[in-house]
Symmetry: C3
Subunit: 382 residues, 3 copies
């Protein structure tokens, strides 16, 4: 009962959060046929600002962490992050009528990490007097960024395969170069760039000698293309600058303070686009709700298991194991959406943001955190 009332309180609270408020505001604005628009140049710049901030904060956390000591937990965090996306790819995406790119994006968001869920867990750990390594919170970028990169690459591979299958029937050059930009870059790349990219892609994959024996999609060129896309470039640039330089001053005075505001405007834009695509979700909404309810707990248990391996082999604290589990259970309301919006533009934002914000995060907070802390306390013999 307590859980249910906690859950409902959190759910209603989330609906009043400015993030979701702007999303719904954008949907209403579009629904009433307003002529309100955010110029494209502004939109692209906002996405850039958000992604470089996400990268910078991850990079700064990694630079300040004790890398030698945290090696095994970090490898496990990375493994879990990638695993979560593959789980979503082979469960949610296989459900009837669920669109594959929407499912991959949703899994990416559930692999990514929510800073506020993590902060809640740290607070409770301290209240309960459970010890953990000071660097344990710095595990989050090791799960967050690999999960988002994996999602974008899996989506690119999927779209590429779809296209190649279609090619056999159609063999139409024109539509091809257009489809090619539906993953890996901002939604409206310069036409010139898009064209070049399409050509390069064709050459890289050895188009002329295509025959029935060569039907497998070549994966490395797609990964390279994904990484060269504006979304992952900005993310990785921020990560590299965070690790290699000392951007704290400019991060604290510029990128971090502007983050929430720019995010709210991005949400508005995403809401405006979501209106037209809300119908797509009507037939499959229950699958997203089911996934969003089960996934946080399942991911948390997987990470808890990996954490216990580190506990027994390298003495990773039980508090650290809880943190790893909470990181896995959380889904990103903040850093994930702009990355996925830019990296998998063809995915429906209503699907992944709705699943994460309305169901996934409340489940992780109200059910996941007490569960994993209780489990750790039981193992400690309290």
């Amino acid at each position: 009962m307590d859980f249910l009332s906690d859950f409902l309180t959190l759910f209603l609270d989330k609906l009043q959060s400015p993030t979701l408020g702007f999303l719904i505001g954008g949907m209403v604005v579009a629904a009433v046929n307003s002529r309100l628009q955010i110029p494209d140049a502004i939109y692209k710049f906002i996405v850039f600002m958000l992604l470089i901030k996400v990268g910078l904060s991850g990079g700064i956390a990694i630079r300040n962490a004790n890398l030698a000591q945290m090696l095994l937990p970090a490898v496990f965090a990375m493994t879990v992050g990638i695993l979560i996306v593959f789980i979503g790819r082979y469960t949610l995406a296989k459900l009837p009528k669920v669109k594959t790119v929407d499912a991959i994006a949703t899994a990416g968001l559930f692999g990514a990490v929510s800073g506020s869920t993590l902060a809640a867990a740290l607070t409770i750990l301290e209240t309960e007097g459970i010890e953990y390594e000071a660097w344990a919170a710095a595990l989050y970028p090791f799960m967050d960024i690999p999960a988002l990169v994996t999602a974008i690459v899996l989506a690119s591979i999927y779209i590429s395969k779809q296209r190649d299958t279609a090619d056999e029937y159609l063999s139409k050059q024109k539509s091809l170069s257009k489809q090619r930009v539906t993953a890996g870059g901002y939604p409206s790349e310069e036409p010139g760039t898009a064209g070049e990219f399409g050509e390069q892609g064709i050459i890289a994959r050895g188009y002329p000698k295509r025959d029935t024996a060569d039907k497998r999609v070549k994966i490395w060129p797609i990964i390279k293309e994904s990484l060269q896309g504006s979304a992952l470039s900005a993310l990785l640039l921020g990560l590299a600058l965070g690790v290699l330089t000392q951007p704290e001053s400019v991060y604290e005075s510029f990128f971090n303070p502007l983050f929430r505001g720019l995010l709210s405007i991005l949400m508005l834009v995403m809401g405006m686009e979501a209106t037209a695509r809300l119908g797509e979700l009507r037939k499959v909404g229950q699958w997203y709700a089911l996934y969003a309810f089960v996934a946080p707990l399942l991911h948390g248990f997987i990470a808890f298991g990996f954490g216990m391996i580190a506990h027994f082999t390298t003495g990773f604290s039980l508090g650290g194991v809880v943190i790893l589990a909470v990181i896995a259970a959380s889904s990103s309301d903040i850093s994930g959406p702009p990355t996925l919006r830019a990296g998998i533009p063809s995915a429906n934002p209503s699907a992944y943001i709705g699943s994460s914000t309305a169901v996934g995060t409340p489940v992780a907070l109200a059910l996941g955190i007490p569960l994993f802390i209780g489990l750790a306390q039981a193992l400690m013999g309290n």
Copy 2:
């Protein structure tokens, strides 16, 4: 004498304010043929940011107010806000050679509220020990937003009538769609949108069956179009988000701190455009000066009268009556200009900003506030 020196001090102070400084700076930049420009995408985004901030702050004020208790004063505030615009429409706009849209925009600005004038009045009320309801300051959005909306709608109706009259002589399709966007949206809407809008407008107003009997302009479609325009959409979106969600964190960290700076850039742009149109004002400047001197006192007395009705019927405090009068006497230097710029792009900013900043605000501060406070004290029997 005291009043005159107070007035002159305030007047000179206002001329040094950054808001007016950037406006004059923009005029000089344009006058010396500089190639300095603010890109259009930036300009549109700045307008959006300013309008959503104005809406948010109004919405937050309303959400935190005691709506039941303030019902009657709020209705009166709204009434006065709308009334002020109609007064300007049928006095200032009827003076010789005064352009109607300029007069409507000026009246809209005098109906809108200046936060700094209001703050000055609150300070003096406290110094004088005059009591007022804690929610009385929250009356301002009830006057501010209706006045701006009324001005934009009246301007749209006027432009629409003008066009229809012109149609009878010209019946030219081409010029029509161009004129149609001179009210209700950003000055340079996407050509596609502008076109569509023009077409829709024609259909909505039943173009084919136009005959001499059908000369009346249909008002509801115009109001609907005004509300769908980017200016009022952003304003009302902010208002709705302020009332329905809890945007305080993003408001305090993003929209509010950026407001004054973005406003200064908007002023620069408006100054650049004003240079070319300064000549228009030379013949009618004295009418604007007269209006700007008389209007604050007239509007204040009207609101004082309405306030006294609330005083005798529901016990609204005399301090509250003063606040209502000051809100009506003040004219918006800050929130109004971006709204009118976007909502009535064909109006000359030099007319309304000049009237408000150079004359209206000093009059309200140096003459209006002491007058209404003195009146209240006389009624209290001090």
Copy 3:
């Protein structure tokens, strides 16, 4: 030895500064063929924001200064600022294979002033107990802005001469209007504007009556054109607003806090462009290193000499003389690059930023400041 280790520490520190980090980041992004881009409208606005901030801070410093007392030192600061650019024009620019516009831009940057070098000198002066006039630090805009303006004008004159020489052989109209925009405005002016500008330029210089006797370039029209360019317009607009109005509130709340962040994004763009032009520097890198090592000390000694004249004639303090020398020795890492980028777009940013950040600034800090303070102490008879 001490100096060498100080120098190397500073050098390594500089390489980790976010400013240089973003520059190198941009170079890497371009080198790996990423599709990351900053929209042009954003880029132009960032340049505008940076330039108006530089102007405003200079203007505010001048307004708050004691102009009568500082007249002679201010005139000397201005003289040294202009002189530095001419020295670079007739030394660095004459070295084999060094491109003239690159050399002029580099000299402009060494004439401009680094706020952080100045702050370091003020701290050391106070530690050493050497007295100086409170307004001495306000001398910096008198050197900074004239140096940048001189560099932009000299570059415009050079480019104009080049073009006229070329005309005699080619007399081709088409390529001409294209070359004409390589100095004085943002890199990508509106095509329309560029065209008009080209035409005007031709008419202003009396194109039809061109003959062998009229080969001298008319300088005043070029200066006028440079001042009307978007770069210098923004700079001078900020300066005027700083001197004539009271923009402190909007400066402190908006232009100043955003400065470092926007600068980092500009650096990213400049890095992206620098990659393609790095090869140009390979053959001449040693000349820039030599100039960047010698120039700070030479400029400092010249300013020290001028300062001593003021010391003996008007009693300018020896501490003030040191400040004047340090201002001359410093080169601008912060305010200069955006101005030169916009004012001399054809100059290679790798040349001037590399020279200043990697060599000039460490030399001024580690060698210049102790040298001039020691000199002043020797003259004081300590």
